[in-house]
Every structure is written in structure tokens, then in C-alpha cells.
Symmetry: C2
Amino acid sequence: MSSRVQPVQQRSRSRRELLLRAAVELLAQGGPRAVTHRAVAARAGVPQASTTYYFESIQQLTDEALRLHLSERTSELEAMIAEAGGKGDSIEEIARLMAEMLMTRSREIAIAQFEVYMQAGRNPELRGHVTNTLNAFERVAGSVLAFLGARHPERAAPAFVALIDGFLLHRVARPDQAHEDAEALFEAMLALFIACVMDAEEFEKWRARFASEQPSGPPDVSAHS
Amino acid sequence: MSSRVQPVQQRSRSRRELLLRAAVELLAQGGPRAVTHRAVAARAGVPQASTTYYFESIQQLTDEALRLHLSERTSELEAMIAEAGGKGDSIEEIARLMAEMLMTRSREIAIAQFEVYMQAGRNPELRGHVTNTLNAFERVAGSVLAFLGARHPERAAPAFVALIDGFLLHRVARPDQAHEDAEALFEAMLALFIACVMDAEEFEKWRARFASEQPSGPPDVSAHS
DNA sequence: GGAAAACATGAACATTTGTACTAATTCCCG
DNA sequence: CGGGAATTAGTACAAATGTTCATGTTTTCC
């Protein structure tokens, strides 16, 4: 009934983690229905029974995998900040850096992130973790906006993160657009938004640039009824 | 091997639709793993075998259910436009109307929408439909922005839709925030964004309002490790 | 070295799920 | 109204899945 304890031996712990990573991969690639004991074990290259040896149930395995993913996103965020530190200090540079960093990640990372969001909507256990992660995102966004000179960064931050996640979500749902076009659009979006919350002169400058770039009309896809 | 045809009798057709709606409900409430033959039949109040009578496989049932959901979102959008027509013509009014309309929908509608996005990421069959729906959203967003006087509405529209979906997604993932606060924030976000793509005077006016409202700092949730 | 604890795994079992099949019932139309 | 098609429903079965368990192996610690 109670959850299995953390293994004490190193090899065990890494094997356990192997299973968690396999679960995240399967979740990203095939959705929740693809995360089965057997599939996870096969992908991790361990025998079937390992999954039930390390985890009480498939639900618990999945939940822990999602928490691992969340903690890795936080680490990733810190790494991004560390890497970006000093590399740019203008709106232009920051927007380019962010767009590039977020778009060069694997598609699976974004998908897994959204699966976590979905799961958090149903599982109160996860909700606190997701809330903390989102708050962390918003804190960082607020810092960046503040660094650039936004007037009310903490207020604009949630919108900034929403814009980013919305863009990435649409890219997951509609992956056909060329990568370069998408990244350019993303960068322009970010720059425009940042400029929005700055003072008026900065804003004017950036809005002009946003407007001057060739407006790419939405490509009409063959109608599906 | 081929898909079953549309039933000829009225009762049959409505029953078939009943199954599709049940599938969407289950998907929204319990995720993809909750959509099983038996669960769908039970929720629709029809015998087990109906699901296999009307649909080739559970996959086909799910796919069609998702397509139904998409087409209903399009209808909903048209209804919103019709209802909003003439009710507002200022940025303030439009933002309030949009925030209210989008936030008073059931939570399940948003969740189902995002499940469709996730599924489209994996299923090329669905992708075209999702692309069309997103393009329709962006077209409407572009019209609204154009109506309000945006300079390059078609270029700002994708960002606008991304902002909306991102906000709704975060609300799904983190539903604890009070509804009124969330709606007010949403409205402010929309108004700010719209103002962003307007001329400078409009923008200044709205940015000032956005900034003057009490900035609600992110509530720190108890740390989950 | 050897016992005890921790770890690992193959095989089996119970349940859930997808699907097929047959018989009964209802509906449509001449 | 009667016959054939459409639909409904009960049931059975094969496959997939979650889980258990007995047993074998490795590691730890004295």
C-alpha cells in the first residue's frame, strides 16, 4: 500500500531513473496510453518486473516521471539564465536568445510539458508542482522584463509566459510550418511583447520593426470538410 | 477495414453522436486513457456493442470525436462573433467581452481543445483539421484587430491567439486562482496586447491603465520539494 | 568467509480492454 | 401487412495490461 522507498544502491537508483526517463519519452511520443509497464521496461532495456519492483503502480510511475520532467525544466531554466547571462542586454538580443533557446529544444520536451499541464488539471498531487514551476517561469520572466526596464514586470510576466507557452503549443499542434519562419515569428512576437511593456520610445521603435518585416499570411491548407 | 457509413435512421444518427459526445466528455475528464469502449457506452447510456457497431475501432471513434469537437469550436466562434457584433467597438469593451466569453465556457471545453492539440501532434489525420481551426481562429483575431485599427493585424493575430491559448492552458494546469482575479488579469492582458498593435496614443492610454491596476504578486505555494 | 539485507527477474495470474459473432428487435417501404 | 434491411443487444473470446510471487542473484556489513 505504501510507496516503495528510494533504493540505497547507486546502480539501483540510476536504473530507477532510467525507467522514469523512458516513461517521459513514451508519454511525449505516444501520449498517456503509450505508458505501460511493458513499454516502459522495454524502452529502458530492463526486465518487465522492474517496473513493479520500483513503483507501486503505473500511476505512481507516471506521476513521478512527470515530477522529474518538471524538475528538469527548472534546471534547464537555470542553465538558460546562466548561459544567457551577459550575452545580451537589449530587447533584440534577449528576444533572439529566448526564441533560439526555446526552439532548439527537442519537440518532445514541449510535448511532455503540455502533458504535465493536462495531467495536473486532473491530479491534485501534481498541481502543486506545476504551480511552483509556472511561478518559477513567471518569476524569471519578471526578472528579465525588469532587467530590460519594464515598468511593471511582475504584472506582465504571466502574459509573457502565456504567450510563450501558447506559441509552443500551437507549434506542437501545427508543426508543418518551416522551422526558420516559426523561429523568426516567435522572435518578433517576443520582441514586440517586451517592447509593449517598456516605455513609449522603445515600443515605437520595435513596433515599427515588427510591422516592417514581411507579413506572411496564413497558408491556406486544403479544406478538410 | 473501411469505416462504417453514416446511419440512415434519425435515431441512429443521434445515438452515434451521443457516443461521440460521451467520448469527448470522458477525454476531457479523464484523459485519453479514460476513453474505452465500455466507458463511452456507459456514459452515453447505450449497450457496449453499439460502439463497435458504429465505429471501426476505438481509435476511429476518438478521432471522429475530436473532429466533432473542432467543428463545434468553429461554430462556437461564429456564435461569439454574432453575439458580440455591435456590442462593443472599443478596445476596452472587446477585451472584456472576449475575456468573459472565453472564461465562462466550461473548463472541459478548454481541456478537450488542448487534448486535440496533443493528439494532432501525433496523428497526421487530425493535423489538417487542427491547422484549419487554428487558422480560422487567427483569421477572426486578425479581423478583430483590424476592426480596432491595428496596423498589421494579420501579423499580430498568431501572437494574439497564442496569448489566449497560453492563458487558458495555464488556467487548466493551475486552476486554484480565483475566477474573478483570473478573468480580470486575462482582460487586462488582452487589452494591453491589443493596444500594443495599435497606434501609439491608444497604446499609451492602455499601458497606463494596465500598470495602474493593483499588481497581484504570484501567490507562493508551499514548496513541494 | 558468510549471513543478512537489498536487489533482480522470470513466470504466472487476474482484470481490463478491444473486437467479433449471433440472435433478437425495430424500422422502412412497397 | 410483410419482408428485408438496419439496428440493437447479449455474449464470448483474444489480446493487452497491471500486478503478484517465488526464487535467484548481488551487495553490504561484520
